[in-house]
Structure formats: structure tokens, C-alpha cells
Subunit: 290 residues, 2 copies
């Protein structure tokens, strides 16, 4: 409604509530300028916050950005960053409403995303109940596979390996599936930022339940499989424990008919923690997979 240029921006909130997510991204820790372009970093910074909003069942509407920029940063890098923000927002109908720029020795990006629930109840992490099913939408394992390829210094020019690397540079979250899941009555949802096992551990803890996953139920995408073959790695490790793809993981009552795009990968039981085929993996992330 009012973009950059005044003391503050004004965004629409027709629902009367606003969903808000914020993140800080730091050069060296969350991205490297030699591995990612400014455009990729902009897309990734936007995506991880827009995905948080979608994971509540909301439609992202706006982004505000605080930038810390080194004096010697090429202006072209900043232009590309800005384009990345705008393009990622455009994929979901959102826009950049405002921002703030200051000098810093490294690139620092503070992103706050907002979204509208459209009258729906928000989908929290705490609503999973025994008997419910666990489903995922979006990519799993791409970012971890791409990162492993970059770290190993594998030459990646095209084909599925490049697709994995592209997945590391900028994710492709299934934003629209957030509101869809909310409409379908999802009982819990989050976006997969730290790895599916770790993130579902948050659902298990918040809901007071155990999440059981069937490793056979996970489709392994070609880029992930190709990277695993190249590096002699286990692709399922990336799928289950890799982060930063910002897939959505949701829990639904058993009678819900899931539309295309959602894959059932497990179920909710009494107990605690996350189990894969009866083996406890633990709340706090990837242990190992037998």
C-alpha cells in the first residue's frame, strides 16, 4: 500500500492478523559470494522467510529488508541481490515493501516476511495426533547434495548435477501448498530448513507425539541421486537430514485426501521423537541411517 521512502511501509492485512517471520543471513555463514551470485542470495534470503510464512498456512504478501553492505561491494552485486528478492517475491505474488541500508564489513541481510491467513486458522507445530499421516511437498536433498558437490570441487556444468547446485544456491519452496494444506485441515506444518528429521522432531516435541517415517516412501529426485552417485554418498541421508530446501512437511488427519504435490511419508504414533522404520534418530538432527 505504501512502499519505501517514508518512515515505514504500509501493507495490507485484510484478515486482521499478520503472519511475521524474520531471519538474519550472514556472508560466510549462510552464503559465500564465490559460490553464489547476488541474485541467488536474494532469492534464497527471500525464500526462507516466505516459506516460513507459507508453513503457517498463510499467503506471503510483503518483505522488508535490512542490508549491511561493505563499501567495496560491486554495485552490480547489489542490483542482482535486489532482483533476486523481487523475483522470488513475484513467484508468490508478494513484493518488497521497504528496507534499510548501512555499511558493514561483511554482507548482512535481515529479512522480515509477512503474510495473510485469509481467514484460515494458522497451522502450528503442536496439532499432530496419533493416527494422523505425515506428508511432504517440495524438494528434499537438493541443497545438501549441491553443497556437497561444491565442497568437493566437482566440476558442474549442466545436467542434474547443476540442478542440485542450483538447489543449494536458491531453493524452490512449494509456497502455494501452505494455504492448500491449511484449507485441507492440516494439524501441524513447518518448512524444512534444518533437515526433515530435525524439523519433524520439533513437531513431535510440540505435539507430544512420535513421528514414524517410511524411508521407502521418499522419492529420490534425479539430481540428488546423480550427486550421490558422483560422490559415493547415500542420497537418503541428504533427503532425510539435508536442510535449506524449504520443502513443507505437514501432518493431516487420516481421512484427508491429499492433492497432487503431497507425498505421504509416514504417520504419527503415541510416544516421542522421530523414528525411521522403528529406529530412533533423535530430536536434534541426523544421527545416522541404518
Amino acid at each position: 500500500m505504501l512502499g519505501p521512502g517514508d518512515d515505514a511501509a504500509i501493507i495490507r492485512a485484510p484478515d486482521g492478523r499478520v503472519v511475521v517471520s524474520t531471519d538474519l543471513l550472514l556472508e560466510g555463514r549462510h552464503f559465500r559470494r564465490d559460490w553464489s551470485t547476488g541474485y541467488d542470495v536474494g532469492r534464497k534470503a527471500a525464500a526462507q522467510n516466505l516459506a516460513d510464512v507459507a508453513a503457517m498456512g498463510a499467503t506471503p504478501t510483503s518483505l522488508v529488508v535490512g542490508l549491511g553492505l561493505p563499501a567495496d561491494l560491486p554495485l552490480s552485486w547489489l542490483d542482482a541481490l535486489t532482483d533476486g528478492f523481487a523475483d522470488e517475491c513475484a513467484t508468490v505474488g508478494a513484493s518488497v515493501a521497504g528496507g534499510d541500508v548501512t555499511r558493514c564489513d561483511l554482507v548482512v541481510i535481515g529479512v522480515t516476511a509477512m503474510g495473510d491467513l485469509g481467514g484460515r486458522a494458522p497451522v502450528l507445530r503442536s496439532g499432530a495426533r496419533p493416527g494422523h499421516v505425515v506428508a511432504v511437498a517440495g524438494r528434499l536433498g537438493y541443497a545438501a547434495a549441491g553443497w556437497a558437490l561444491l565442497e568437493a570441487g566437482v566440476p558442474v556444468d549442466d545436467g542434474p548435477l547443476l540442478e542440485a547446485v542450483a538447489g543449494h544456491r536458491a531453493p524452490c519452496p512449494p509456497y502455494a501448498m501452505g494455504p492448500v494444506a491449511a484449507e485441507l485441515g492440516a494439524s501441524a506444518m513447518l518448512d524444512v530448513s534444518d533437515g526433515l528429521l530435525q524439523d519433524l522432531g520439533h513437531v513431535a516435541e510440540a505435539s507430544g507425539v512420535r513421528v514414524e517415517l517410511d524411508p521407502e516412501a521418499f522419492p529420490v529426485a534425479e539430481p540428488v541421486a546423480a550427486a550421490a552417485k558422483e560422490l559415493g554418498a547415500d542420497p537418503l541421508e541428504w533427503v532425510l537430514a539435508g536442510g535449506e530446501d524449504h520443502a513443507l512437511a505437514a501432518v493431516f488427519p487420516p481421512d484427508v485426501r491429499l492433492p497432487a504435490g503431497w507425498h505421504v511419508v509416514g504417520r504419527v504414533a503415541e510416544g516421542e521423537g522421530v523414528l525411521v522404520y522403528g529406529r530412533e534418530i533423535g530430536h536434534r538432527g541426523w544421527d545416522h541411517f541404518g
Copy 2:
């Protein structure tokens, strides 16, 4: 409505619009840990964003915070920072709704404040018209005077000098005056973050008018006068050009009766720029004062 712990927070937006302001504060640039406590930094970081929201005529409701923290930061500093955020929010009835923490070599604070317009039209920078009056509410010159005392190494133990230094460490914005000015029909408003002359230059530019100030009309507060005496400085320079006090400067139609707390300091004329007693100071900040 929903605080930290899920993918995103949910805040009330009864008006159907949300005012949003974001800033990035960096250690060394915006604050020094040897000059300010964690508590002061938290109050200041919150205040500068809450003031931006108030300057639109809105009531601040919520804050989300992204923190980059060094591994060796004392936990007590973080506790104090958090208390500072909470206390500053409490002065205006707002609350901290969520956040994000990551490791960083220096303390980085990304703050996003949100507020509600309560059905009022937002007060922009562009509505000032010739014949309108210019008024200020809140402190002017404290932060600049306090900074000058600290930089000069003047021992400051109590009394008005300490009050000036406290004004540098954490401002005291007149939040409630933002919605009051909006209700009274203010035609332009902003918070004084970079210095009154520079900030009113933004109003002059956005409104296509000239702002004329009467230097005799500015009350010089005792802490500012005392610091000027101590350092042999001109207190009016701090009042007119000092930033970071986050006073509110507003423009009103001439028939508006201003309540206590607002001081008329000038008027709007045809033309451009900011003039003090007929002398052009320029849009972009303090030049010097004759």
C-alpha cells in the same frame, strides 16, 4: 497472538493495514559495547523502529528481532539486551513477537517493528503545504550532546551531563504523540533520526515546499545546555543537527490547536529546502549555523 516458537509469529492487525519499519544495527557503527550496556542497546534498537511506526501516526504493536551474536558474548549481555527490548516495547504497549539468532563475529541486530493505524490515514512526508506550521515533540540534542561528552572523555557521574549521556545510550521518543498528531490532522510527520534540519529536508523535498525555522523557538533542555557549557559548544547545533533522539517533527494546518507536548518551531512556505532565519541550510544535513 502467537509469539516465538513456531515458523512465524502472528500479530493482530485490527485495522486491516500494518505499518512496518525495519533497521539493521551493527556493533562499532551504531553502538559500542564499552559505551552502552546491552540493556541500552536493546532499548535504542527497539526505540528507533517503534518511533518510525509512531511517526506514521500508528500505535506500535510488535517487534521481531534477528540477532547475530559472537560466541564469546557474555550471556548477561544478551539477557540485558532482551530486557531492553521488552522494556522499551512495554512503554508503548507493544511486545516482542519473535526472532532469530545466528553466530556472527560482531553483534548484529535486525529489528522490524509493526503498528496499527486504528482507522486513521497514515501521516506521510509529502503533505506539508505553505501556511502550515511546523512543530516538534520530544527531546532534541540529548543524544548528540551525550555522544560529544563520551567522545571527549568527560567524566560523567550524575546530574544533567549524565542525563545527556543517557539520552545517547537510549532515546526517549514521544510515541503517543504520533497517533495524537494523526488525529489532529497533521499533514506531514517523521521522527528525527538524522538531525532535525536533515529530516525536515525530506519533508520539504517530498512536499515540494520550503520549511522555515525560528531558532529562538527551540527550547534548549538543561542537559544539552550543560553539555554545551562543559565542552564550549553551541547547544543549538546539537538541537538542530543532532540525530538519534527520535523526537517527532510534524506539520499541521494553521488552524489546529496543538496540545501540550508540541512546540511550534517554524512554518511552511513556498519554495524548497530548510531555512533558519532566512538562511539556506540545505537538504542533506547540517552545514553550519550562523
